[in-house]
């Protein structure tokens, strides 16, 4: 056998396990002829480019008939080395990197990272900044669950779920764009607070959105919840009980759908979540159906939190007062777009030499963070998003490790789908709702 031979070319060979066929398509009868005897064990490679794998995910499935006997998962196709990259940027720049990990929950990444940096620095952020963080995170949670629902629906053939899900998600992204300037990858939450305050008109837009969304969410119940096909595709599919979840480290809606009301916003509150009135939805079915219901209910709860956050918004700073940490970006909207405000530029260029030095030092060099390590978990739409951040006392992180819930939850694929039908593998993975950008980082 020469090395230039294509190992995946169609053909067959004898092995100690019997005759092994390699096929990449074509007519079944032509490949096998009348040779279809004995046991039918099929190894199917699915992905990494496949419309039903919920991202750039590769599945290797052993099939007997339509029953999956073994499911193996291969990841890493979106690995971009973000953790390593943060070690070569200053602390503030880190925000722009971590926001690109779980790209459906960028604000949770930013919040987790910034809370870790703030814990290392030992600083408290202003109340208004904390409230706005909660506000944008909950809008983001709804957007993320909608994409989970939309892509999950698409993978199961419910295309209306897809078009509607992305339609409503667009409403959420419009809001986030109005608040942060960007639809995704916002870099809005910064160590010490926020990049900027809510723009004029944002509160009104959010209030209007709050009147629209409940009706839209109710439509999903009309469209999907009562629908027999949707129910039968999800019920008793991808079963994983509490014991299995905890052993495999699964958190988020999957764990709550197994009946354990474990939500970090309740059990280890941060950013003042203990002062908001909201429920932790659970289900007791431990299957994809329960996860669907939990996500639907969580969107309703997030709407409640957004409304409460709006009500308690008090005027005030959105960044710590310490000028050693606060990025000197007095942003304003000019004719050529968003940038440093003219007054600030005039002040540092013509008014105060010290301000110019300070601006230059902080922007090019950044601030120093005392040595030590912290682990800060936040409840992202997919579960526990943990930031383990190590500082050596310099202007750059020594190590940033992200415990991404998608990465951990994806380990449940085999437990959820082995022994089931091949079509149910799709439903099971859709119910995990992994985001490959977070899995591979």
């Amino acid at each position: 056998m020469t090395t230039t031979q294509d190992p995946y070319a169609a053909g067959s060979r004898e092995t100690t396990e019997g005759r092994v066929y390699t096929v990449t398509g074509g007519d079944w009868d032509q490949t096998f002829g009348t040779d279809l005897t004995g046991e039918e064990r099929l190894v199917v490679n699915m992905g990494p480019q496949h419309p039903s794998t919920h991202g750039v995910l590769r599945l290797i499935l052993d099939l007997e008939g339509e029953t999956v006997t073994k499911a193996r998962v291969t990841i890493g196709y979106l690995h971009t080395g973000i953790e390593k990259n943060t070690e070569y940027r200053n602390w503030t720049q880190g925000t722009t990197f971590v926001t690109r990990m779980d790209y459906l929950a960028p604000l949770f990444n930013e919040a987790g990272y910034c809370m870790a940096v703030e814990k290392l620095l030992g600083i408290e952020i202003p109340q208004r900044a904390a409230t706005i963080r909660v506000l944008v995170m909950e809008i983001n949670r709804i957007a993320s669950h909608l994409v989970g629902l939309a892509t999950g629906g698409m993978e199961l053939g419910a295309l209306t779920a897809m078009t509607n899900g992305f339609r409503e998600r667009e409403l959420c992204l419009d809001l986030l764009e109005e608040i942060t300037g960007l639809r995704m990858n916002h870099a809005y939450i910064r160590p010490g607070g926020l990049a900027q305050d809510l723009p004029p008109g944002a509160v009104e837009s959010i209030r209007e959105w709050l009147t629209v969304m409940p009706k839209r969410l109710a439509e999903y119940h009309k469209l999907l919840t009562g629908q027999p096909i949707w129910q039968r595709r999800l019920k008793d599919v991808g079963y994983l009980d509490v014991t299995g979840c905890v052993a495999l480290g699964i958190t988020g809606p999957i764990l709550r759908a197994a009946g354990l009301p474990w939500d970090l916003r309740k059990v280890e509150p941060y950013l003042g979540y203990e002062t908001y009135d909201f429920e932790v939805p659970t289900a007791d079915t431990s299957d994809a159906w329960g996860r669907y219901l939990v996500r639907m209910a969580e969107m309703q709860e997030s709407l409640k939190i957004v409304a409460q956050a709006l009500d308690r918004l008090e005027p005030g700073p959105v960044m710590v007062e310490d000028k050693k940490v606060a990025w000197p970006a007095q942003l304003s909207l000019g004719a050529d777009g968003m940038g440093n405000s003219l007054e600030h530029v005039q002040h540092i260029m013509a008014g105060s030499m010290e301000s110019l030095i300070h601006h230059f030092k902080l922007v090019t060099e950044g601030f120093r963070v005392p040595a030590g390590q912290v682990y800060v978990p936040v409840e992202s739409p997919r579960g526990e998003l943990g930031y383990h951040v190590v500082s050596d006392g310099s202007t750059r992180p020594w190590r940033v490790h992200v415990r991404d819930p998608s990465f951990v939850n994806l380990q449940a694929t085999a437990a959820m789908s082995e022994g089931s039908m091949i079509a149910d593998v799709i439903a099971a993975i859709a119910s995990i709702d992994p985001v490959m950008g977070g899995v591979d980082r």
Partner: protein, 249 residues
């Protein structure tokens, strides 16, 4: 404990007390690392250690405060005084987080006790990852220095507690027992840590690369592995790749 890697953290009073050895040579002060220059923008409250500085890492004295004492007592009860003394090399309480530095020979005993004891019940392993504490002071890496740390974050869902375990190994002998038998979730975490740091988890059922291609050379998140990158031309200027830019450490 002078050479088990890691950076010193401020002592209980937040100052430099407890770092030991005094601020001779190894330390640098101020936010911007400059002193005596009239730098008005520097933040003087920070003390950092220069790479290569002789640093003794301190251990927090009891009482640790909060639930940390309860956890420690329960752990001693479960594994016994002698095993605890042999297994836990030092304990650090910093920023409200508890860290046990565990000898790898006793890791499985300690973790099993932490998971199973009624008073401990750390059911969930939240996170497992590596940190490379390679000294950035010079090209030579002192052999035999335990620069690679494996960091475990355990969560007790029953008591709503979190603790951290750390195991330090050398790059020459990077072996740590696998926790997959105790926490199945450790599977992918350990594969990733192997992939990125080359730490070998003995007893893992299939320790293969997970994020990098199977035939990749080297362990990308070690500190002596370069970030890579090429210079980029922009508006007639050449921007060097991030790891070769002027560094403000």
């Amino acid at each position: 404990m002078s050479n088990d890697g890691g950076f010193p953290t401020p002592g209980p009073d937040g100052g430099q007390q407890g770092i030991g050895g005094g601020p001779a040579g190894g330390f640098r002060r101020g936010a911007f690392g400059v002193s005596g220059s009239g730098d008005t923008s520097g933040f003087g409250g920070l003390v950092r250690v220069e790479p290569g500085g002789a640093v003794a890492l301190h251990s927090t004295e009891r009482p640790y405060g909060g639930y940390f004492d309860e956890v420690t007592d329960a752990l001693i009860d479960e594994v016994g005084e002698a095993t605890y003394a042999a297994a836990v090399q030092r304990v650090l309480v910093d920023r409200g987080e508890l860290t046990y530095f565990v000898a790898r020979e006793h890791l499985l005993t300690i973790v099993q006790a932490l998971r199973d004891d009624d008073a401990l019940r750390f059911e969930l392993m939240s996170s497992l990852s590596g940190v490379d504490y390679l000294d950035s002071g010079g090209p030579e890496v002192e052999p035999g220095r335990p620069r690679l740390h494996v960091v475990y974050h355990l969560t007790s869902m029953t008591y709503r507690r979190r603790i951290r375990l750390e195991v330090a190994v050398t790059a020459e002998d990077p072996h740590v027992p696998s926790l997959t038998g105790i926490y199945p979730t450790a599977d992918w975490h350990e594969r990733e840590t192997y992939d990125m740091f080359g730490i070998v988890f003995d007893g893992h059922p299939a320790l293969t690369r997970i994020l990098m291609p199977d035939d990749w050379d080297g362990f990308p998140q070690r500190k002596d592995y370069p970030l890579g990158g090429v210079p980029v031309e922009y508006h007639d200027a050449t921007i060097p790749p991030p790891d070769t830019r002027r560094a403000y450490r």
